[in-house]
């Protein structure tokens, strides 16, 4: 027995720390954004200092009069300093009483920091109160249900097609025909292609003056271009997205399938052949059962990625008439549109809960199946 060594832990430490900072912290922050009342109320300070005692509390969008102003220095977390204005303001508080206190420039909108007489309260501080307001806003948004349904429809259509195609590709590669290496590399090309590029590519095919219409026109099937992508043509838009996703993301499933196939002992396949099993029988009784662990991993991975489908949808449909969950997250976050990071955080958490839930469901389903087969 080798003696205990700290070396591997030290080697792993930087990476693990990095991942904790960039995964654990945002997770916490995400929950806070989603379920904590944030900027509804601005707390005034007794002194021009963030840690000074609380004066009154003013609602957002209240117009306040400026009584005095000060230019101070603020130290940032990275150690640098920058100038920051503090204003002594007077305004109506949440109960309708006049209060005075200090706020800094981050919380108010002001035309001119040096001369303006009034300011508008535009941001607040966490009041540390828990709320389901943002979640309710998401669930009640008329786009939410549509986004959820479209995302689910896409998953239900894309995954089976993808896995069927990936298994066919894998079997072709494994059949060791001459040139199968070349086929492997061709099939692997989309591995490095982004969802946005793939979306644009398929947009060029399905758009009104696109390649599909050009082809149909050239062979004489239509006389004028058919508009595939329009609000009344949801089926065609979904078909275009499904094709783009199957085209782009089947490669990764294919690689996982091929490496799974390579692990299957040739003895099993030869046994199947010797006893006269047809190709279909071999797939059904030998290949698929042995491939199950690989397929399961690929399925979880693809499902999680499918819940985040975003750029393909925006590139093909514009993201307005047809929307998905990730697109809604962006819409709510986007400063140029809803500018509400809280609801965006709820969306993000919702996507995460869905993907984790489905992954657990897959794992459970597979395990219970195995248990059932063991007990027989």
């Amino acid at each position: 027995m080798k003696k205990f060594s700290w070396t591997p832990y030290l080697l792993l430490l930087p990476s693990l720390l990095y991942l904790v900072i960039f995964f654990a912290y945002p997770m916490y922050e995400s929950f806070r954004l989603a379920f904590q009342k944030d900027s509804a109320i601005l707390s005034l300070r007794d002194e021009p200092d963030e840690n000074a005692e609380l004066g009154g509390q003013i609602k957002l969008q209240t117009i306040v009069t400026i009584l005095d102003r000060l230019q101070l220095e603020e130290t940032l977390p990275n150690g640098r300093t920058r100038p920051i204005f503090w204003f002594q303001v007077e305004g109506e508080d949440i109960d309708g009483n006049m209060v005075t206190g200090w706020v800094n420039q981050k919380s108010v909108f002001i035309e001119n920091r040096r001369t303006s007489e009034t300011a508008r309260v535009v941001a607040g501080e966490p009041t540390k109160e828990w709320t389901t307001d943002f979640a309710e806003r998401m669930f009640n948004d008329y786009r939410f249900k549509r986004a959820l349904i479209t995302t689910l429809i896409l998953i239900v259509l894309i995954l089976p097609l993808q896995f069927t195609l990936a298994i066919i590709m894998g079997l072709i590669i494994q059949s060791r025909i001459r040139g199968s290496n070349i086929f492997l590399y061709i099939y692997a090309i989309p591995l490095g292609i982004s969802d946005l590029a793939s979306g644009i590519l398929w947009y060029s095919i399905f758009t009104q003056r696109g390649f599909l219409n050009s082809f149909l026109d050239t062979v004489g099937l239509i006389d004028k271009p058919y508009i595939f992508i329009q609000a009344s043509n949801r089926e065609w838009m979904i078909a275009a997205i499904v094709l783009a996703e199957v085209w782009r993301a089947t490669s990764i499933v294919m690689v996982i399938v091929v490496s799974g196939l390579q692990a299957i002992s040739r003895d099993y396949m030869e046994a199947g052949e010797v006893f006269g099993a047809t190709l279909w029988q071999r797939i059904h009784y030998i290949i698929l059962p042995l491939l199950k662990p690989s397929l399961q991993v690929a399925l979880i991975l693809r499902t999680i990625l499918a819940f985040q489908v975003f750029a393909v949808v925006v590139a093909i449909t514009g993201g307005d008439v047809l929307t998905v969950l990730a697109n809604e997250t962006y819409r709510w976050y986007d400063p140029a549109r809803y500018n509400n990071a809280n609801v965006a955080a709820v969306y993000a958490l919702f996507i995460m809960v869905l993907s984790l839930g489905i992954s657990l469901f897959y794992l459970r389903a597979v395990r219970s199946q195995e248990e059932a087969s063991k007990s027989v």
Binding site: F4, P8, L12, P14, S15, L16, Y18, F22, F23, Y25, P26, M27, E29, S30, L33, P77, N78, L165, M169, I172, F183, Y187, A188, I189, P190, L191, G192, I193, S194, L196, A197, I200, L201, W202, Y203, S204, I205, R209, F211, N213, F215, D217, W247, V255, I256, S259, A298, L301, I304, Q308, F310, A311, A315, G318, Y333, P335, A344, A348, I351, M352
Partner: protein, 297 residues
Amino acid sequence: MTTIETPINTTPSRPSMEATAVDRKRAKRRHSIRRGSIYILACIIALWILLPIWLIGTMAFSTPEDVRNYPKHFAPVPASTETMDFFLNTDGIQRAARNSIVVAIITLILSTLLAIPAGYAIARYLFPGRDAIRLGILSVRAFPIVVLAVPLAITFIKWDMYDKVYSLALMHTALTLPTTILVVASVFAGVPYELEEAARIFGCTPAKAFWKVVLPLATPGIAASAILTFVLSWNEVFAAILLTLTNRTLPAQILYTLDKSGDPFKFAGGFFMLIPSLIFIFFIRRYLFNMYGQLNK
């Protein structure tokens, strides 16, 4: 497209010929028909992969008039770089492309530097908690990006790191690190331990043995993983569009201006974004299974 069907033998066989010969011939024919159909299927799928790339390439190298024309040509005749020029000289595109490259390079360096020690530890040491750490890293890989991007954007605003190229690179490093660690670990696992042992026996310290023996042998694999990291960062759009505003990366810039731009811009942009991925597959082809085969272990 090639099919290898043997011509059917029409000469009548003599009745005295044994049935076995006929059988063998029939079996052989069935075999070549099957081969042929596998080939046909393989080529159809290859066409399905290649055709869209050909079409977008056609658009990128046609004149803007041809791009807008209907019906479209299926080959870039007459060929022209006008559309690509137009795209590359559109306001903000070169800057965005530069940002994309900077982000991808910072991501690649950070990610690889962090992953080399971690990957080595996973490949070479057996220690309590190794499987848990491996599994942890794998499960982080499966984490939705969407969940990270929104809170990180808010945090970066607070820390005055919003809309900076380097903060996007920090985020991309978090996204690529798990994959990079696992790929680098599999590269190190492929370097024979005996060589390292021999170096140690001849008096190298562990660090020197790693530096002089293991690392040079692992370099091609690590380079391939670095290329993968580059492409992952180059392609990433969701975090990029949330974390930047004026310092857009290329995909973020293209996505942001998508509804305001015409087809020549879109198609040239789509093709331009494809280029690294086409080069990428050429460089990593030997390491394909190192990279993605990892996933089911």
